[in-house]
């Protein structure tokens, strides 16, 4: 688990995981925290599953299915914002 609390700190943690897991070079000029991870081919459907597990175990949350196709759940900044909303109880996983 991480102590990251601000959106920036959450984004840093998510970016580090994505770069490491999906072999994204620091020198990649097209990759940023605003990149569309799926459309630009950085993360595929299987990778998304691993990302969800990472988010759940790292931030002690349950990622609701409802965010999967949300426009926010496409970039690192958007994902960080969603993580914050889930942690603040503004988004909940439907049981």
């Amino acid at each position: 688990m991480t102590n990251a609390t601000t959106p920036t700190a959450i984004a840093e943690t998510v970016e580090a995981f994505i770069r490491r897991r999906f072999d994204i070079a620091e020198s990649d000029p097209y990759f940023s925290r605003q990149s569309n991870l799926w459309d630009e081919g950085y993360v595929d459907s299987l990778g998304m599953t691993e990302l969800i597990v990472f988010l759940e175990s790292t931030f002690a949350i349950q990622v609701p299915d409802t965010v999967l196709f949300s426009p926010q759940f496409t970039s690192i900044d958007g994902i960080a914002s969603l993580v914050e909303q889930v942690r603040d109880g503004k988004l909940v996983a439907s049981a």
Partner: protein, 437 residues
């Protein structure tokens, strides 16, 4: 398909309190989520009353359900994505109802509410030390109850059970023989380039089992070339381009084609299969063939992987959709027993030979010892006597993941980018707000 029309060609099987329900009418549009949660089965419902619509999908998403709302409020609903494409829509305009969800909307008021009416509880705890396999009894009991539920549906119909020589299909075969009675076993095997059936190890086990439980056996075979001729209907009606589901779908298409040919215009045959057991027990591994890796999976321990494999049943229609295209109804007993399987403690899925150890206890005294003793066989990759399987047939023809997705795009008149947006984390694209808002 035209507006305000349902084009659902896949049979719904719905039980309430273990009894088959009567067909639903427009009055049932008022069903609450608890009332829907009392239903079990394989279904994708569309109920309509004037401008109000209720769409419901079964807990595992075995039956698929896609809809589109036109600019004038016309609603098209189908089990098949392709119906929407043929009606002139792009995939961007088509939405799925997620498994275990109910969707209510009104095209006049544009009210739109997607709710999860049920959820599977995945037991992520450790197995109890004193009796780690106590969950096995619930699995046995659930499987038996499910076959008993199916029995009335089999009356007066041609009943088939797919047999692969493995543990999952054998369990269904033996229980069906005990509880329902006679059926015809049906199995698939590759043929050599001359069309001669390859007597694989799987086939030898299937023949032996069919003889031991005294059922007729129908052997369906295809050469590699013949199998690939089924690729387009598999992509279209299997609603997926991912290699594992396509390879499974090819076998099912061959069986479905032959059953349709044999039965002609007689009533739709009913097939029972061993599908979904592997998802429910996270019994999957990637397969290597000629230096390539197929059937890739998220890199997770089995106890965590199970949740995503089961959720992933939302996508892909390798059995129901393909068989329905050939006029066959399919029931998946394991899918109907999902709650018993999701209660298996995660730690039991992470030991070597996990499913075998679990199912040995669940089906003790039921499944012959020679089946229980078999090493795990992945039908798609062939037996360990190297007789090959669908994976070899497809891969050797140069049809890999890229070719499958490219052909899918052609058939669905879409592109790779749209495809990436169609399935995420094993779920078809859905919307939480009125489409177009």
């Amino acid at each position: 398909m035209t507006g305000r029309e349902s084009s659902r060609q896949v049979t719904d099987f719905v039980w309430r309190d273990s009894a088959v329900t009567a067909p639903f009418g427009s009055a049932d549009i008022a069903m609450t989520d608890p009332a829907i949660n009392a239903l079990n089965g394989q279904f994708a419902l569309h109920l309509q009353s004037k401008t109000r619509h209720l769409l419901v999908r079964d807990p595992l998403g075995v039956n698929k359900l896609f809809f589109a709302i036109g600019p004038g409020g016309q609603v098209d609903v189908s089990n098949y994505l392709i119906d929407h494409v043929r009606a002139g829509r792009s995939l961007h305009e088509v939405w799925s109802v997620p498994s275990g969800h109910a969707l209510r909307f009104d095209t006049a008021s544009r009210d739109y509410r997607l709710t999860r009416y049920t959820g599977l509880a995945f037991n992520e705890a450790a197995a109890p030390a004193d009796d780690p396999y106590q969950c096995a009894a619930a699995i046995r009991s659930s499987l038996e109850a499910t076959i008993r539920q199916i029995r009335p549906l089999a009356e007066g119909r041609s009943l088939y059970v797919t047999m692969s020589g493995g543990l999952d299909s054998t369990t269904v075969s033996v229980l069906t023989r005990e509880i329902i009675g006679e059926f015809t076993g049906v199995t698939f095997t590759m043929a050599d380039s001359n069309g001669q059936v390859i007597e694989s190890e799987d086939l030898r086990y299937v023949r032996r089992l069919a003889k031991d439980i005294n059922v007729r056996l129908k052997v369906v075979s295809r050469t590699a070339k013949q199998l690939l001729e089924l690729l387009d209907p598999v992509l279209v009606y299997g609603q997926d381009w991912r290699d594992f589901n396509v390879h499974c779908g090819l076998v099912n298409a061959a069986i479905g084609f032959d059953l349709a040919r044999d039965l002609g215009t007689q009533s739709r045959p009913l097939l029972l299969t061993g599908d979904c057991a592997n998802e429910l027990t996270a019994d999957y591994t990637p397969v290597s063939y000629r230096g390539q890796t197929y059937y890739t999976l998220p890199d997770l321990p089995a106890g965590r992987l199970r949740r995503f494999l089961v959720t992933g049943l939302d996508t892909g229609d390798r059995e129901i959709g393909i068989y329905a295209h050939f006029g066959c109804d399919v029931l998946e007993p394991y899918a109907l027993c999902a709650p018993a399987f999701t209660q298996v403690p995660a730690t039991l899925l992470e030991v070597p030979q996990a499913k075998q150890k679990l199912m040995e206890r669940a089906v003790a005294g039921l499944v012959p010892a020679y089946i229980l003793a078999r090493p795990k066989v992945r039908a798609q990759s062939g037996s360990h006597d190297n007789s090959g399987g669908t994976l070899a047939a497809v891969a050797d023809a140069g049809v890999g993941s890229q070719e499958l997705s490219a052909r899918f795009c052609e058939l669905f008149q879409t592109d790779a980018r749209a495809l990436r947006g169609l399935i995420k984390a094993g779920m078809y694209r859905f919307s939480t707000q009125y489409p177009g808002n």
